[in-house]
Subunit: 354 residues, 4 copies
């Protein structure tokens, strides 16, 4: 082999795969660190941890946005998500309405029941049980939840508002330490749901609309205001990091936010600086949910120099591993200052707090 | 074998798989009919055709709702989708904003360019080209599109509106026979986008918000109004059929609409009577996009007696096959009356027209 | 934009996506040609056609190897596969044992019955019905098939042989124009099954082994002889093309054959020159079935200059489209000479015949 | 709700999903136990642990067969697999040739190098590096491995043999405590590879064939003998349990073994009593790799009363979790007797040892 080829070859052979040893594990932090020197999706999951920790320890103190989609509460991830918010490992939450609705359903006393994917769905219909793959939820408790949301919505000021305001209002009304929404409200973490009408929370809003639609003054979900609030957060952050659990509207919207912010504030921002995703989707269907974080670079949505990682693993397995590893390694991020978001109407100022 | 077992056995063996013969094909209608007596996903796709045709020939004249998600314009499906609207094979369209934005981008003169998934995304960024898997779009033409949408938005009445009104307004402003939005406007087919802010159309809306937000009277996307309009359509239809290309917000919202309609109008409706989906998602991740149409029965979203089919095939291949077969077999649905939607503010009356 | 950037940009924008028009279709050949200027998997499937046609019209007359895996007979593809062999569009077949067994099962009079994936499998067990996803096969007819294979095996010469010899022997014994194996025998197309023991054909072989194992002279599946026969075919071909329906052992073995041929005949061959695959697997699990044809280049298994294409579509849909298009466009490949394989024991000479 | 419905409803609501709490984790055993009361794939993975432990603690002492496919050594799972063999958590191994070849490659000193899926494969070709998704292997070391295997093969008795004999012979020749094959040889665990010729080990065997094929007496891979040996093991076991990492030939062959054993020994066995699989494949493609363990019941391959579980997770993540949990909970299986396999030619007697 010619010398130049041999040199080039050598440059490729610098880090060898090290086999995982489960007999020498001191915890999930150690497991995911071991994963970082394996291959295939274990390595990708290990790199997700690395990217998240890089974002948490970045001196510029990036704003970390968490995008949530999929059956996360059914999957038993409510505590894990609530912890992320409570510990300050994420600064902004963007979620489908379904995740937040099921969070409230549990606050109201509803439970997710272990079922089976092979259930008789027509019988379940008769029993007022709704199926989410292998899990059942209780439609009678759903009605209680809808009523509770309805009562709170009636107290909301009769004016246009963003989903963030409305969800914050909901979160403040519940004194449930296990709730994602209530924890976010207590910690001042903004929660957005850009497609909130597309969820069971939307049912209550529809009934409210039906009852109030002829009034001059009424609460109105002013959808575009969500965008305006998001772009201010992005523009007001020295850097941003994004963590996507699944894809869907939350991923697309947080990604698009960069482009909107550039337009709205006349600057060419650099895109999200850190990006990680755990997903069950794939790139070759061409959809946004499964698109690579490389592809997002062509759109300017992810920074050209971003640290990024994408692991193909379903969230019920992947997220506890990541968050468990972060907990194990909490000395890494301890003392990171929190953000305080000061809202005046639709305007926001961001300060570091502690 | 005991006689009862033998009888039971015989009852299972009634229809045998017949091999596809490509030498005796008279068109796509014939191919999909052949598929109906094969197995695996070809059979499922053949059954999708059957369900669609059942909906089209049902004497009760169901309202057919089409849910769109994924990179459909990039995939070369613009004409196919426009034809479905023009021919009256769907009565209502619910779409992600991205599909509609890219429809307008083409109306403005933008094109989708054949590229490669292995592109250098950082270079594409510098060239103002955005990648959708194996396809490039032109960011400079995107700016033209944004400006055009911006100009039209300025002319929209200064009041709250649904996405349906706004998209209808957009569609009327373009005289492009190839456009989905313009064809829908001409045909009176309502187009909803429940997460419209989560798209490039949302960028223009954000700028409009930024410029007008302090005005007393301004155009406002009154998100919940979309729900109220949808539930009226569902409640005003003798039956409904749903056709999902992909999943995402359109599928979830159309499905949820049934539950909302039951609440809003105090009746226990029967769920969508016909349902078909082509998808690349799978049930075992537990998400809504890949959930089975059986599962939706437990929620009351799909009728207990629905005719339903789900084929696992990507839309760029699956949709032309289905629509080509429908075209081939147009004698089946020729003469089906159209629907006219008479809107008075946020109220709708549905009539059969022709 | 600087002039050099603008020029580079322009170089990327040469071919635009053209929407599929199902109202102007003259057949499957036309559909797949239209697919070639779309995107996502339709484009990939169109490119598969292009690669296959390139192989068929290459003046060097490449040897075309077909790798088969998956539930192809259940899926209704028996006629399509038999046609490919009959028309000379493939020169060598490598298959899982299951495909070939089910081919014989149909020759014996067995049928594949339309069933459902939600069947009660414990009841099916009692009824002697075996399920392949949505299809049932008849275990009683399986026994007839096993007996027929057993009888033929007894007549096979009492010596070591390759799977190719044994399968050719089987194919010659059945006078069934619809059979893949019988058609291959009639046309002189070699059929290999490198994991033949892992199939229901293997059951018969096991019983034969059990009855004859103490004999000095007995028929023996001399597995490595398959390799030696394959490498001669590869080494004796001016060029090779590979067509993979699914992945599994057939894909891996045909790919590996190149490396074996290089070793066995001390030359550095160029790898398969044309390669196409339709698959439901994905690259990011790291397995061979879903690995890209690019990856195979690093191993020297696919030529550095290969024309290659990979479409993500299940075979029951993808294969009839491809073969139907080839049939439509038969003027392209008409008159292509066939290959004659002259076997002397384990040695082969390849001639062009007609 | 009528009383009977209410009672039925209540019967469905017995076990509620409990959220995972990563702050109260004492190890992987605890994590997977927590997973057992969640949903989606975490629950399935938790159930896999349960099934494995049931098999390990079954008083009838089932024979446990492990099926291996996929890029397991590249993925960093060599130690995990070797541990399973060493600890006696599996009694028989069935593997693709690739896994075993790469095990030997590491014994010879070869390494798997961390690379990237976006590598330039044509350049890698020139550098004699072969890519497995995100990992590189060294083709020059492959040649060393091939030579080593070649030298050992020359010493193998000149007669027909099963893959089990040959692989045992190989394993005995290497004194490498980290090797799966060497550990299996030391522990007397039989290792089969029913498609051994379809691997790089097959390259050496092909060269050996080429050099020896005219000899009267030569080592010959007598493929069907593998089947005969397997069916004796199955028939000689009071019960069997199967653990599938991926699918492919190992899964199919172990499943088929039941049918073969019934035929060969004229009894109607009950199928594998315990079955678990971790897989990235799906049922709806109709292939065996992704087929459900329910489907296998219709074939009589899995017992009607089997305890079974299937988790959709890639092995590099899923397997360390399972094996780590087993290690954590080693008190559960400690002291389980091992099996000794006494081979006389192609006949085997199984005894409990320890």
């Amino acid at each position: 082999m010619p010398r130049t080829l041999a040199a080039r070859r050598k440059s490729y052979l610098t880090r060898s795969v090290r086999p995982v040893d489960v007999t020498r594990l001191s915890g999930l932090g150690d497991l995911l660190t071991q994963f970082q020197t394996t291959s295939i999706q274990a390595r990708n999951l290990g790199r997700c941890l690395e990217v998240w920790e890089n974002a948490l320890t970045d001196k510029k103190r990036p704003t970390i946005l968490l995008g949530l989609s999929g059956p996360l509460i059914a999957a038993g991830l409510r505590k894990v998500l609530r912890d992320l918010v409570d510990w300050g490992l994420v600064d902004v939450v963007v979620s489908t309405g379904a995740v937040l609705y099921q969070d409230l359903y549990q606050t109201i006393g509803g439970r997710h029941w272990m079922g089976t994917p092979n259930a008789n769905d027509v019988e379940l219909r008769d029993l007022y049980l709704d199926r989410i793959y292998d899990t059942y939820v209780d439609e009678l408790k759903f009605e209680d939840t809808d009523r509770a949301i309805g009562r709170i919505t009636e107290k909301f000021p009769a004016r246009p508002a963003s989903s963030r305001e409305f969800l914050g209002f909901l979160g403040e009304r519940f004194d449930d330490p296990d709730s994602i929404l209530a924890t976010a409200a207590r910690r001042g973490v903004p929660v957005f749901s850009p497609a909130l009408i597309d969820s069971s929370i939307g049912i209550g809003l529809t009934l409210h609309y039906q009852a109030n639609r002829r009034k001059k003054q009424r609460f109105m979900l002013d959808a575009v205001r969500d965008n305006y609030e998001l772009v201010q957060i992005l523009a007001g952050s020295p850097r941003t990091a994004v963590i996507y659990i699944g894809g869907g509207t939350p991923k697309n919207w947080i990604n698009d936010g960069i482009v909107m912010a550039n337009y709205a504030f006349g600057r060419e921002g650099e895109g999200h600086y850190y990006a990680l995703q755990i997903t069950t989707d794939v790139p070759h269907w061409g959809g946004l949910s499964g698109s690579t974080l490389d592809e997002a670079q062509s759109w300017g949505k992810i920074s050209k120099t971003a640290t990024r990682a994408m692991a193909h693993v379903e969230a019920s397995i992947g997220l506890p591993l990541l968050v468990g590893a972060l907990w194990d390694r909490r000395s890494v991020w301890k003392g990171r200052p929190r953000l305080a978001f000061d809202w005046t109407g639709d305007e926001v100022k961001i300060r570091r707090s502690r």
